[in-house]
């Protein structure tokens, strides 16, 4: 299983779109840093084609730092730093998109 992290805003960079073109199950998507803007409902359409079995997660400290909880899409689950470490252990390898 591959953990894909994305750290840049979808309106500033193509990171998320580039990642979505090559993410295949078994995989987990984790948005971090400015990447968390991609987890808001405003960008939900980007994820329309993503298979259901790819779980979409977003890093809680980055979400809360930006006050984004009310804007989050339902497709995303929050993970804290411990959850990030657990995902890293659960997945076999990590690709960082930045």
């Amino acid at each position: 299983m591959v953990l894909h992290t994305v750290n840049s805003s979808p309106t500033q960079s193509r990171c998320l779109e580039d990642c979505l073109q090559l993410i295949r199950p078994p995989a987990v998507l984790l948005l971090i840093e400015d990447g968390v803007y991609g987890a808001t409902t405003a960008h939900q359409a980007l994820l329309d084609q993503l298979p259901d079995e790819i779980s979409c997660t977003v890093l809680q400290p980055d979400v809360d730092a930006r006050g984004l909880r009310p804007l989050l899409s339902e497709r995303f689950d929050l993970v804290d730093d411990n959850g990030f470490v657990e995902l890293t252990m659960k997945c076999d390898r990590v690709q960082s998109w930045y």
Partner: protein, 132 residues
């Protein structure tokens, strides 16, 4: 489980050094064996001890130093990436005939081989990148 952590983004124009710090702390608290943190690219500026953010902001360099001393974690700074950006230990400063060095305690300059070695020895390798 063994982790190798690679930091690549600038401490001032990206969150890489801060996210990697929190990740490393969380990993250590979960009993993960952090083989090495390797600072590459712009992240080598994290090891500049002359960095002084305003008092009410976080000093990332000090936070990393604290983590290294609390948990005996190796903080390796790529020597080529560091020297080209003006981060030097005493030896490199002498080599380039500078009157001062600025590598923070707790960090160590070494070669890219340390990145390769940690990658091969680890169960997981994770990179914290900067801005495109």
């Amino acid at each position: 489980m063994k982790f190798a952590i690679v930091v690549n983004g600038s401490p001032s124009s990206s969150q890489a050094a801060a996210t990697a710090l929190r990740f490393t702390e969380a990993a250590l608290h979960q009993g993960v064996d952090v083989l090495r943190v390797f600072f590459y690219g712009e992240s080598v500026l994290t090891a500049n001890r002359l960095t002084h953010p305003p008092q009410d902001e976080t000093n990332l360099t000090q936070r990393w130093q604290q983590l290294a001393s609390d948990h005996d974690v190796e903080l390796i700074v790529c020597i080529a990436a560091a020297v080209r950006r003006g981060v030097m230990d005493e030896r490199e400063a002498k080599r380039y005939e500078h009157t001062a060095d600025n590598l923070a305690d707790g960090f160590e300059l070494s070669g890219l081989g340390q990145l390769v070695d940690a990658s091969i020895g680890a169960d997981r390798v994770i990179t914290f990148g900067g801005r495109a």
